[in-house]
Symmetry: C2
Subunit: 197 residues, 2 copies
């Protein structure tokens, strides 16, 4: 799988500010020169295995009939590699690169490739990962994500029982956080007993 | 680049413990079934773009002639995806998966794919990334890493001036931490003035 072993010569210049700038490497491609090469889809799978996140949340939204809305996002975060994230826009044919200010003291802002539109997720992102499965445990999050989108395509998120099923699935994804919707529903179903006076 | 849009049906079972287990998906491959498919190298590049780290440190070692040793490691970290890390051992033809206990309260231990042996780095890892360049800013760390290994192949780490050049390069990698070696050397070159009594 690997080529004949050899090591190439890299040259560096130390700038007046002490930065080391690579010059005259005999392999000039890479981060700066994003040349086209085969295997873009597999690279994207690997990058998502590393930095990707499939998330579903059931959040309060008083403009919805049920008072709750299902939000969905496929995102990939990278601090300082805008070109790599823009390449994901090309590979998936959807999404955009957004910039989040960082809450900590890092000099660089946090960049993320983000796809939120359900039509893009259903017609582009899900078929992509069906064709090119993830290799890490993130595949399990993807399968739950795809399942929820499928339920939404069937309108199940518009019923209370559907919302409840979706919320249960979200509790098994990513950081396995408790669903606010389920906590809220349980509170409605089991009102607290009146306190004794 | 993408296939005809369609969404597949996923089925889930809720276990007695509340876990959702995917069953009967019409795409059974993925994290569990690490089947062989083309593009393994590009997947590895993407995964390293996400979670990889090329590190060089100049550390105290009294058994070395100079009192300092240059340590090198290429590592990829993943919390709960041993099979993906073991796949890297196959792709690179070297390295191993090691387990680090976590210092925080996570249930899972931290797994990492690690290559430390210089012969493996020089004959396998460096040629691999020359053939398949990274697409994120990590490419710049790789180039510095390869450059230091090249200097070490020429024995430059055995001289004080070589050690100093290597230490300056390490200060421009990853988190850009100050080099203890340089701080130490400067202390030696400029001994503190005797305090007044």
């Amino acid at each position: 799988m690997l080529e004949t072993p050899r090591i190439r010569r890299y040259s560096f210049i130390v700038t007046p500010l002490g930065d080391h700038v690579a010059v005259g490497s005999d392999n000039p491609s890479g981060a700066v020169n994003q040349q086209e090469r085969p295997g873009a889809e597999e690279w994207a799978v690997g990058f998502v295995d590393g930095e990707g996140c499939f998330s579903i949340s059931v959040v309060r939204n008083t403009t919805c009939h049920s008072g709750w809305q299902v939000q969905h996002e496929f995102a990939v975060t990278a601090a300082s590699s805008r070109s790599a994230l823009e390449y994901l826009v090309e590979v998936f044919g959807c999404g955009r690169v957004v910039e989040n200010p960082r809450w900590d003291n890092h000099r660089e802002s946090l960049l993320r490739f983000s796809v939120k539109r359900r039509a893009d997720l259903v017609t582009r992102v899900v078929p992509f990962f069906e064709e090119h499965p993830l290799r890490t445990a993130k595949q399990l999050d993807f399968e739950k994500f795809a399942h929820v989108l499928c339920m939404m395509q069937a309108g199940e998120h518009l019923t209370e029982s559907g919302l409840r099923r979706i919320a249960r699935i979200t509790e098994q994804m990513n950081r396995r956080q408790r669903s606010r919707f389920l906590e809220s529903s349980e509170a409605i179903r089991q009102p607290p007993r009146p306190t004794a006076r």
